[in-house]
Amino acid sequence: MTQAIELNQVWKFYGDYAALRDCTLTVGEGSSCALLGRNGAGKTTLLRILAGLTHFQRGTVTLFGEKPRGENARRNSGFLGHGIGVYEDLSARENLHFFASITGAGNLRSLTDTWLERVGLAKVATMPVRQFSRGMRQRLALARTFIHSPKILLLDEPFTSLDDRAIAMLSELLIDARQRGATIVLSTHQLREALAIASHVALVENGRLRYTGERTQEMLDDPALLYRMHTQLGVAE
C-alpha cells in the first residue's frame, strides 16, 4: 500500500516543553486513522504539523512524499480545525465560492451550488453567515472542507459540538471520502464514532505515540480497551 502520510521521529518543542516526542507514524493511502488521547496529549499539534501550520524541530513529515507546506500537499489536503474557518460577513455562497476558487477548482458556480444543496444550505445561500445558527455554520464548515475533494482529510475533533444533523452529515461525508480512496486522520474524544470509521488507531499520551495499529473488532466492542492497554504499557515502562 502506498503511504499517504509519513512521520518519522518528529519532535516539536514549545520553548523547553516537548509537545511531541519522537513520533513515528505512517498512514496508508485510503486508510482512516483515529488519533486518540486525552486533552493536551499532542493530537492537535500533530494535526497542525500535518496541515503545515506549525514548524517542528526534528524529524521528517511527508504527505504523498512532499513536505506539508508543499503546493501539492496543500492542494491534496482538507483541514478542519477547532474554528469553523468561514467568514461571518460573507454569505454561504460567497464563502464556498471563495474557498473553491483558491483551490483552483473549475466550474465554481455549479460546484458551489452542489455543495450548498448537499449540506442543506441552498435556501439560505445568500444570507450572511453571522445570521446562521450554530448547526448551519458547522454544515457550511464541512462543505468548505470537502469542496475540493481532498485526498487527505485532517480533522481535529470534528464531532465536538456538532448537532445531530451535522454529525450525520459528517459521518456520511467521511464514508463517501473513504469510498473514493481519501486518507483520513481525525483526532477525537468520541471513541465510538471514531472507531466506527477508523481502519487504524494511534494513541497519543504526553506527546508520545503509545500505540499505532489496525483497529480491531475488540476495540469496537470495548472502546475503552485501548486506554487500558495504554495504562498497561505505562506500567510496563
Binding site: 507546506r69 503546493e71 483541514f79 474554528g83 469553523i84 483558491i102 483551490t103
Partner: protein, 225 residues
C-alpha cells in the same frame, strides 16, 4: 492555479467584506478628514508656504490612516480561525500576502482620493493640472506602503498589542517611500512636473520592487509559526 489569480481572489473577498462592514474605510476616512480639517485651522491654508509642506502634511495623514487599514487586513482572518484555514489550503502564503496588499492598496486609494478632494477644497489646490503625474506618485507610494502593511500585518497578527506594534515597526521602514512621495507631491503643488524629480520616482519604483520581492519570498516564513 497561479499566484496572481489566487491573490486577486483574496483581494476580492477582502474588499467584499470591507464594502459590507466599512470598518477600515470609516475609520481611516474619518481620521484623514478630521486631521486635514484641524490642519486647515492650524495653518494659513492660502499662504505660499503651503506648497512647501502640503506634501508632508498629506503623506503624514495617509501614513497614519494607512495603519488603521493595515491593522484590519490580517485581523479579519482571526475570527473562526480563518487564517489557519487559508494557510492549510492550496492558497500559497505569498498569494495571501499579495492579496492583502491589493486590498490595502484599493482601500487606501479610496481614502486618499477623498482626502485629496478635501485637501483641494481647504487649500485651493487644483490637482487636475497634473492628474497623470500625481496619479503615478500616489499609485507607486500606495503600493509600497500597502505591501509593507500586509507583510507586517501578517507578522504582528498574533500579537496582543498588534494595533500598537504595527505602526511602530512599519513607519521606520516606510521612510524612503514617504520621503520620495513628499518630495514629488511638493513638486506637483509647486507646479513642477513629476519628471523633473525623476530620482524620487526611481526611489519609489525600487522600494516597491524590493518590498514586493521580500513579501513574496518571506511570506511562508512569516505566517507559519
Amino acid at each position: 492555479m497561479n499566484l496572481l489569480t489566487q491573490a486577486f481572489a483574496v483581494a476580492r473577498k477582502d474588499l467584499a467584506i470591507e464594502l459590507r462592514t466599512k470598518e477600515s474605510l470609516n475609520a481611516a476616512g474619518s481620521f484623514a478628514i478630521v486631521i486635514l480639517l484641524i490642519f486647515s485651522f492650524a495653518f494659513d491654508s492660502f499662504a505660499d508656504e503651503m506648497n512647501e509642506f502640503g506634501g508632508g502634511l498629506l503623506w503624514l495623514v495617509f501614513a497614519f490612516a494607512g495603519a488603521l487599514v493595515f491593522n484590519r487586513g490580517f485581523a479579519r482572518e482571526l475570527p473562526n480561525e480563518c487564517l489557519d484555514t487559508l494557510l492549510a489550503s492550496p492558497l500559497s502564503a505569498a498569494a495571501l500576502v499579495l492579496g492583502k496588499a491589493f486590498a490595502n492598496f484599493v482601500t487606501l486609494l479610496v481614502v486618499e482620493f477623498v482626502s485629496m478632494l478635501v485637501f483641494g477644497i481647504f487649500y485651493s489646490v487644483d490637482w487636475s493640472s497634473q492628474a497623470g503625474g500625481i496619479a503615478l506618485v500616489f499609485a507607486l507610494t500606495t503600493w509600497g506602503v500597502s505591501i509593507l502593511g500586509a507583510v507586517f500585518g501578517a507578522l504582528t497578527v498574533n500579537l496582543r498589542l498588534r494595533e500598537l506594534m504595527l505602526p511602530v515597526i512599519i513607519y521606520p521602514l516606510m521612510m524612503p517611500i514617504l520621503i520620495a512621495a513628499i518630495e514629488l507631491t511638493d513638486a506637483v503643488l509647486q507646479h513642477h512636473s513629476v519628471g523633473s524629480q525623476i530620482q524620487w520616482v526611481r526611489v519609489l519604483v525600487a522600494s516597491d520592487i524590493v518590498f514586493t520581492a521580500l513579501a513574496w519570498a518571506l511570506a511562508d516564513t512569516i505566517l507559519v509559526t
